[in-house]
């Protein structure tokens, strides 16, 4: 028996199968053509009816209307921008006034603040008084505030001197403003 494949067989059954396959392929081709035609038409119509150009026209019209509020719009944007920047500056800038007012409020009536130096958050304060007790009270108060409110750190007594001629006591303290 020959095992060669003979595609040109003339069997009736095979002929019917081929006719059947041809019919299916023809139907498939027609369906495919209709599907492609229909989907192409739908996509074309959808793209054609897209309201983009109409929206763009409307945008141009309302932008022209907006131009009549040009000054207001400019002022409003300027205000917003300035407020944003001012907020940033006020947040970041060093403000010693609160801490200084706090330390100065501790100075008694018979004590005077003679010198003050602040550079890069480091301060040096010199006070003088004829009463050593007043200076002591000031020191107690400063250390107390420093402990409680964490306003200052690294507080240090630099010097305590007496002027025999005037009877004045001078105190110099330094520290870091937080």
């Amino acid at each position: 028996m020959s095992a060669d494949i003979n595609l040109a067989s003339t069997e009736n059954k095979q002929s019917i199968k081929i006719e059947h396959a041809l019919l299916i392929i023809r139907i498939a081709a027609v369906v495919a053509a209709i599907f492609v035609l229909a989907s192409a038409s739908i996509v074309f119509i959808l793209n054609l009816t897209n309201p983009m150009s109409s929206i763009k026209n409307q945008q141009n019209q309302v932008l022209q209307n907006l131009n009549s509020y040009k000054n207001k719009s400019g002022n409003y944007n300027l205000l917003n921008e300035r407020l944003r920047d001012i907020s940033m500056i006020t947040l970041k800038r060093t403000d010693y006034t609160e801490q200084l007012n706090k330390i100065v409020s501790l100075i008694g009536s018979d004590t005077s603040a003679d010198t003050l130096t602040i550079v890069d958050n480091k301060f040096t304060l010199g006070i003088s008084s004829t009463s050593l007790l007043s200076i002591s009270h000031f020191l107690d108060a400063v250390f107390d505030v420093s402990d409680k409110s964490k306003t200052f750190t690294n507080l240090n007594i630099d010097s305590l001197t007496t002027n025999v001629g005037t009877g004045n006591y001078s105190l110099y303290i330094s520290g870091q403003i937080l």
């Binding site: 020959s2 095992a3 060669d4 494949i5 595609l7 040109a8 396959a21 041809l22 392929i25 498939a28 081709a29 495919a32 053509a33 599907f35 492609v36 989907s39 192409a40 996509v43 074309f44 897209n50 983009m52 929206i55 763009k56 945008q59 309302v62 932008l63 209307n65 907006l66 509020y69 207001k72 719009s73 400019g74 002022n75 409003y76 300027l78 205000l79 917003n80 921008e81 300035r82 407020l83 920047d85 001012i86 907020s87 940033m88 500056i89 970041k92 800038r93 060093t94 403000d95 010693y96 006034t97 200084l100 100065v104 005077s112 603040a113 003679d114 010198t115 003050l116 130096t117 602040i118």
Partner: protein
């Protein structure tokens, strides 16, 4: 077993005659498939892309309409005043007149006497590393004690233009203060008008209300202009206060 396929010219000819009816419908299917893959699918993708863009453009249109309505309801005078106040506090360039007014106002309020002063103008592109804003540095001499110097700084911090005190050195009645006065040039480039304009937040309203109480920040808080000051005032204050 011999599995060879004989495919010589005669066989091909027989096959062609037998199956030639299949060629056209198969060709149609292949062309349809190619059209679908190469044309229709990209067109569908394009449609969805266009739909998204249309949605965005529609939103922009709505934003512009809302912006018009928002701007129409704004009080023009109030807005101009607020913008002027904010611009006085943070000027767009080196506002030397404003700085001198600020010093005058602060010294008048704190009862200190201004002595010599010197500007360190710097370059236009100069930036403060800390805050990121350009500034003009000014060193001033004050004839004031510690308490009045602190009062001066306190008042200066409530005076336009916005400033930052960098150094203080006071010895009895002589003080030297180094101050940075900030400014910020207006951002270049057109403003996107399709971005929705939002009403000022409560924080911003509170800030503008605070700023309007600052000296020199608004017309009602501005001190007497220099031009109206006596020309040869014997006052120790160089600004006539």
């Amino acid at each position: 077993m011999n599995n060879k396929i004989n495919l010589d010219v005669n066989v091909v000819d027989i096959l062609y005659r037998k199956y030639k009816q299949f060629l056209f419908p198969i060709g149609v299917i292949i062309v349809c498939l190619l059209l679908f893959i190469l044309v229709i699918i990209p067109q569908i993708q394009n449609y969805f892309l266009l739909s998204d863009q249309t949605g965005l453009e529609n939103q922009k249109l709505l934003n512009i309409r809302n912006n018009i309505s928002f701007l129409a309801n704004l009080d023009d005078n109030k807005l101009s005043g607020q913008a002027q106040t904010a611009s006085s506090v943070l000027p767009q360039d080196k506002d030397f007149t404003g700085i001198l007014f600020a010093l005058s106002a602060a010294s008048a309020k704190s009862s200190t006497l201004l002595g010599n002063y010197s500007f360190t103008v710097g370059t236009l592109g100069e930036k403060n590393i800390g805050s990121g804003f350009p500034f003009v540095t000014l060193t001033i001499q004050l004839n004031s004690n510690v308490l009045n110097t602190i009062k001066f700084i306190d008042d200066l911090y409530k005076t336009a233009p916005i400033a930052e005190v960098k150094k203080i050195s006071t010895d009895n009645e002589d003080s030297q203060v180094t101050i940075n006065f900030f400014y910020q040039p207006e951002a270049l480039g057109a403003v996107d008008q399709t971005v929705p304009l939002l009403a000022l937040s409560p924080k911003q309203v509170a800030l503008i209300n605070t700023l309007s109480t600052w000296s020199n920040a608004s017309p009602e808080n501005t001190l007497i202009p220099f031009t109206s000051l006596p020309q040869a005032s014997p006052s120790a204050n160089p600004f006539g206060f």
